[in-house]
């Protein structure tokens, strides 16, 4: 026997048997499909929010931990941009300045047994003086007294956490192949260590700087020198530091990186909330229907003395219970999905902002709790209006549905006005170009709500229109179906609005992703000059560039129309590290330009200025003719911005300059890339084979990639970067699908008695079934049709506002028909599916039984 507290107890007393609860329970059990779908709707909504939130939090944690690993607990870094700095400079810092808290830093990505890992080069002895604890790494005492020493000064030796070694099937003393982009090396696992938190070290290979230089193909170079300095030392160091090096304040740089990637997190979170919104609308809709369906029962209870408050509480608690079940399921599912999503989120951050050496899955239990509470609240909040409605039902007397319906039809226009106002208000919020991301999303939400309010009216018009034009062909049952849908506009309107939003999310995100991809493809076509790219790949060739003999040999190949050198390197700037691209191709030929100064192209070609990428311009608010400071070999120098080009490869920004300008500031840098132009009349494959033959004599010193391949690779990276968006879109489709099915099913089930009457008046079971299917199909079509403008509006906002504010990218709009068709079909198929069960039920109905109550 269960003891029931408070209100529940009261029900028991009043009804003597807990009748109210039994009736609620029976209602749920009699409509298992509806109940399951209802729960499923909330579950998927909660799952999405929890998964995205978990993935976001986990990625943030990974980001923080990675920053801490690479630059935690240090105050400054000496950085050179380009190819790092010579290691001899570290010796000078230690012996001339005597900076004790200085450690060399060199890291990069490597692959072992197909697994991508970060190789972190350190000097343990310097680390001991730094006294920093780095996540995932053994603590200092162990680092010093442990086995790392075995790896000091050996170019093959690496050290890793023992569980990683185990998963790679390695034991101390084993040799294995470790590869970088350019080459493969034999490495030896000198020792394993135990980390207090092994998951932090699950992607880390540690090596002495000697080995890191060898294994990462960076002989003689360091990425940076990590420092812990007080103010006095900072001043001293600044005055001593050569001009081509920069003392970077680490905290500021990390904050900047964090801010940039934060936009991406907000973006994801908002997308998941959008789905939750859809789920909420769907819940609201189902709960409303469930109340309408039970109005009679509830009326009887009221007549037996159940108070309004009790009815209200019943409906609320009922939904809270469903919400609880659904939310628990949602949290569990969200946890599982989050595990999967986090790798995608970290991949994005990795590609756009910052290499994450740590990308483990961190579970934030608050997120789980938050998801649970959110799901519950949403279920309860969605039930409030229907509960009020239920509480207001009059004792015994049946409300006449028709009366209610006609009342609603008169009120439609009253909804339209606030709808239009919300739409306009949302639109106005989007106007300021540099508005925040959050306002962007608020505006989007307002616009979605506004549109929802317009849906009943639009639906009514649409149905009337359909009726008008199709009357002649669809016959009486068809007309009935349309009339019926239109007269029940209070319920159908709401359902269609919910479906509309659900479908529009899939359309909006779909169009955005399609536009983005389309833009990138065009951009790739235009911004990859030449046909083949030859890149220095070994330590030697990276240092020396292209030998003259090689150039002579290339000259002799038929079909090579010309070649020019190019450079792609990192450069330090006032805004942190940027990518710098250099070659001698005229600006007009190589850029996908957004805007230029009037003399922009000439200025660029004559070395009078630089072009910068759009995200850089947008995020740092740089305009044409502004200047940007870059760290050259002779120190920080200003360059005039003469143009802004589209770029989608980097979240942090890129600068392009002409060879002649570069020459003046980076005279000692070798040219390590060569773009080859192939005569359009020649066969590219033949030329490529000829080049490869020549290259084979250079001992893997150079790699040859065709622009075709490069485009493919770039697109692959692009797809990997935005895989998360696609997954979210698929989930939104899932939510929408479940929503459509459950809403329409509920809608039709509720009206079974009406169909019974139709049966009694002589319609065959088949006729009734087909009527139901037609009706759901019509509603599905209407939802699909109305979802398209909303979806397109959403995509506009996502493309022009959200993505711009998140990443600084502007894109062209592409309208992939497939997305539109997909959205439409989604609505239609789900609608038909939703109609199947009610149609089956209606066909089986015994008119007499159903009519007994009439």
């Amino acid at each position: 026997m269960v003891t029931l507290p408070g209100d529940l107890y009261e029900y028991k007393v009043i009804t003597g048997t807990g009748l109210l609860w039994r009736s609620a329970m029976r209602y749920a059990l009699q409509r298992p499909w509806q109940t399951v779908l209802n729960i499923l709707g909330i579950t998927v909504g909660v799952m999405m929010v929890v998964a995205v939130d978990l993935a976001n939090n986990s990625a943030r944690e990974a980001f923080d931990k990675s920053l801490e690993l690479l630059s935690g607990q240090i105050s400054h870094q000496i950085s050179a941009g380009s190819d790092g700095l010579p290691d001899a400079f570290f010796t000078r810092v230690k012996t001339e300045l005597g900076l004790q808290k200085a450690a060399p830093s060199l890291s990069g990505k490597v692959r072992v047994n197909g697994q991508e890992l970060t190789l972190l080069g350190i000097d343990v002895i310097s680390e001991a003086a730094m006294q920093r604890s780095r996540p995932g790494l053994p603590d200092q005492v162990f680092a010093v007294t442990g086995n790392f020493i075995a790896a000091i000064g050996r170019t093959r030796s690496v050290v890793m956490e023992e569980s990683l070694a185990q998963s790679l099937g390695l034991e101390a003393g084993d040799t294995f192949t470790l590869s970088t982009m350019n080459a493969s090396h034999q490495a030896e696992l000198a020792a394993v260590f135990e980390s207090a938190d092994a998951t932090l070290a699950e992607n880390l290979v540690l090596a002495d700087i000697a080995a890191a230089q060898k294994l990462l193909d960076r002989p003689g170079r360091l990425d940076a020198i990590d420092l812990t300095l007080d103010d006095e030392a900072v001043a001293q160091l600044r005055s001593w530091l050569p001009a081509n090096l920069m003392l970077v304040e680490v905290q500021g740089r990390n904050d900047n990186l964090q801010q940039m990637s934060e936009a991406f997190h907000i973006n994801l979170l908002a997308m998941s909330l959008l789905s939750l919104l859809v789920a909420g609308l769907l819940i609201y809709n189902t709960v409303t229907l469930s109340v309408i369906q039970r109005q009679q029962t509830l009326g009887i209870f009221r007549a037996q003395g159940v108070t309004r408050q009790q009815v209200f509480t019943l409906v609320i608690l009922e939904n809270a219970a469903l919400g609880l079940i659904a939310s628990v399921l949602g949290v569990v599912a969200g946890f599982l999905l989050g595990r999967f999503l986090v790798s995608m989120v970290t991949a994005t951050i990795d590609n756009l902002y910052f290499n994450l050496p740590i990308n483990s899955f961190f579970v934030d239990f608050w997120v789980l709790l938050k998801g649970l509470v959110l799901g519950m609240l949403l279920s309860i909040a969605s039930a409030v209006l229907p509960a009020v409605r239920a509480a207001l039902s009059r004792p015994v007397t049946l409300q006449h549905q028709a009366a209610v319906n006609s009342e609603w039809q008169r009120k439609i226009h009253l909804l339209a006005l606030p709808g239009i106002l919300l739409l306009l208000g949302g639109r106005l919020m989007l106007i300021p170009e540099y508005g925040s991301l959050v306002t962007g999303f608020v505006a989007l939400t307002l616009m979605v709500f506004g549109f929802c309010l317009l849906v009943p009216g639009l639906l009514y018009l649409l149905l009337q229109l359909l009726l008008l034009i199709s009357r002649r062909w669809i016959g009486l049952p068809g007309v009935m179906a349309l009339r019926n849908a239109s007269s029940a506009i209070n319920r159908t309107g709401l359902a269609v609005a919910a479906l509309c939003v659900a479908v529009s999310v899939t359309v909006g995100v779909g169009v955005m992703v399609g536009s983005f991809r389309g833009t990138v493809i065009i951009w790739l076509e235009q911004s990859l000059p030449g046909d083949l790219q030859l890149t220095a790949a070994s330590a030697n060739t990276l240092r020396e560039g292209f030998p003259d003999e090689l150039l002579d040999e290339l000259d002799r190949i038929d079909g090579i129309e010309g070649y020019y050198f190019s450079v792609l390197q990192q450069v330090e700037s006032e805004f942190g590290p940027l990518r710098l691209g250099v070659n001698a191709i005229p600006a007009i030929e190589k850029f996908y330009l957004k805007e230029t100064s009037p003399d922009g192209l000439t200025a660029f070609d004559t070395g009078q200025g630089v072009f910068i990428s759009e995200p850089l311009a947008y995020l740092q608010k740089i305009e044409l003719e502004d200047s940007i400071s870059l760290l050259t070999e002779s120190g920080l120098r200003p360059f005039t911005v003469k143009g802004i080009f589209f770029d989608y490869t980097s979240g942090i920004g890129m600068v392009q300059m002409h060879d002649s300008l570069y020459e003046g500031y980076w005279a000692s840098q070798p040219r390590t890339r060569l773009s080859l132009k192939i005569n359009p009349l020649s066969n590219e494959d033949v030329v490529e084979t000829a080049i490869r033959e020549i290259l084979s004599t250079y001992d893997n010193g150079f790699t040859l990639v065709s622009n075709r391949q490069l485009r493919e690779i770039t697109l692959q990276i692009f797809d990997r970067t935005f895989a998360i968006t696609n997954v979210l879109r698929l989930l939104a489709i899932l939510v929408a699908f479940i929503g459509v099915v459950s809403t329409l099913m509920a809608l039709q089930l509720e009206r079974l008695r009406e169909f019974a009457i139709l049966r009694a008046t002589g319609m065959t079971p088949w006729q009734v079934s087909s009527l139901i299917l037609k009706q759901t199909a019509v509603l599905g079509i209407c939802a699909g049709v109305l979802a398209l403008p909303l979806g397109l509006m959403m995509s506009e906002v996502l493309i022009d506002v959200i993505n711009r504010r998140s990443f600084g990218w502007s894109m062209q709009h592409f309208l992939p028909e497939s997305v539109l068709i997909e959205g439409f079909l989604l609505a239609l198929i789900a609608a038909l599916l939703g109609g199947l069960y009610p149609a089956w039920r209606a066909a089986k109905i015994m008119p007499a039984m159903a009519l007994r109550e009439e």
Partner: protein
């Protein structure tokens, strides 16, 4: 000789696993490290050798440990006294520097260096100590000739050529030293012609020489003040691969510069019971630089006054030394001259007093590893 063995054990602990260990995560005990187990491939101090100067002032690769050890007593014009210690230790990780290192890689290194520096400010009875660690390459530490230079980062000992005078420069967070050093006597070979046997077992020995009297002048920087000082320093040079036996746990080391122009060095190894080990020994250098060995039988040492370190260890800061016809009191200039670094030991300036008259007859340094 001295704590240096103990300190080297730290470095050796660093170096304990060279990939051939059965269980690479197992830490070795100091005794194991200093025992003769892990000496394969290293050179050993097993027989007397010919010393050559200035060559022997530089590094001796092939041996595992080596150090340059300065102690001294300094005084300003107006009589303010300081004691100082500066040490450069190097410890090889493996015998062969090129083992598994690609030729041309600047970071190929097989030695790790540790520096200790301390000042005893006698007027305020404050003792300050600093330590520094570094790998040898790329050019971060080393000991070379032409010109002579021993350095760990910016701590350095150098000469214009290979000869005295040498410059010693050390900058720490709390103090700095800049000293000009001129040897007043030729190097003294300790033990048997420079072979200093630490246990009866062959090879458990070091090559050991001292420069027992070095005229010293320069500056001590303390509390933003510069003090012009002069005084006398002592240099100990030692290199070895294995030295201590398993039954040796600590030692007391005296370097005394007497006013009559003689210098005395004596180390007393302690066994596990705290008693003097038979392999203790020392050397007396005459005014003219001639030397005579001191055996444990010739030396009587009694601990008189103790000072307790924060960790509870007792250090004898007052000693009675009876040697030949002399009866000396050896007293710390003040009690707390504990080297508060990674591995603690007591090392400080002492005065040598005639025990019957109480007259000051010399100064020196005392080191105790307990």
């Amino acid at each position: 000789m001295n704590k240096r063995f103990f300190l080297m054990s730290l470095l050796l602990l660093l170096a304990c696993s060279n990939g051939e260990e059965e269980n690479p995560r197992q830490r070795l005990s100091a005794a194991e490290v200093l025992g003769s187990s892990d000496v394969e491939g290293f050179l050993r101090a097993s027989e007397p050798r010919r010393f050559n100067f200035p060559q022997d002032h530089a590094a001796h690769p092939g041996f595992r440990n080596e150090w340059w050890y300065f102690t001294g007593n300094l005084e300003t014009q107006n009589g303010r006294r300081f004691g100082y210690q500066v040490t450069f230790f190097s410890s090889a990780i493996r015998p062969d520097a090129d083992d598994n290192c690609e030729v041309g890689n600047a970071w190929c290194t097989n030695a790790i260096w540790m520096g200790h520096a301390a000042i005893s400010d006698i007027s305020s009875e404050t003792h300050m100590a600093a330590e520094i660690f570094s790998r040898q390459e790329p050019g971060l530490a080393g000991a070379t000739l032409n010109p002579f230079r021993v350095w760990i980062n910016d701590w350095q000992l150098f000469s214009a050529d290979n000869e005295f005078p040498w410059e010693l420069e050390v900058i720490t967070d709390e103090f700095a030293l800049s000293l000009n050093l001129t040897a007043e006597k030729s190097p003294v070979l300790q033990g048997t012609n420079g072979l200093s046997q630490k246990t009866p077992e062959a090879g458990n020995a070091s090559y050991y020489y001292s420069v027992t009297r070095i005229d010293t002048r320069g500056q001590v920087y303390l509390d933003d003040q510069r003090h012009e000082v002069n005084g006398t320093s002592w240099l100990d040079r030692e290199w070895s691969t294995s030295a201590l036996g398993a039954d040796q746990t600590g030692w007391d080391w005296f370097s005394l510069q007497l006013d009559d122009g003689k210098e005395l060095m004596y180390y007393q190894l302690r066994d596990t019971n705290g008693n003097a080990h038979p392999n203790s020994g020392g050397n007396l250098t005459s005014l003219m630089g001639t030397q005579s060995a001191i055996t444990p039988q010739q030396m009587r040492l009694e601990e008189e006054i103790y000072w307790q370190a924060p960790d509870g260890k007792q250090y004898a800061i007052g000693w009675h030394m009876i040697f030949q016809e002399n009866d000396w009191l050896i007293q710390a200039v003040f009690d707390d001259q504990l080297m508060d670094v990674t591995f603690q030991y007591w090392e400080g300036a002492v005065e040598v007093l005639d025990s019957s008259s109480g007259v000051l007859v010399g100064r020196g340094y005392l080191e105790m590893v307990r």
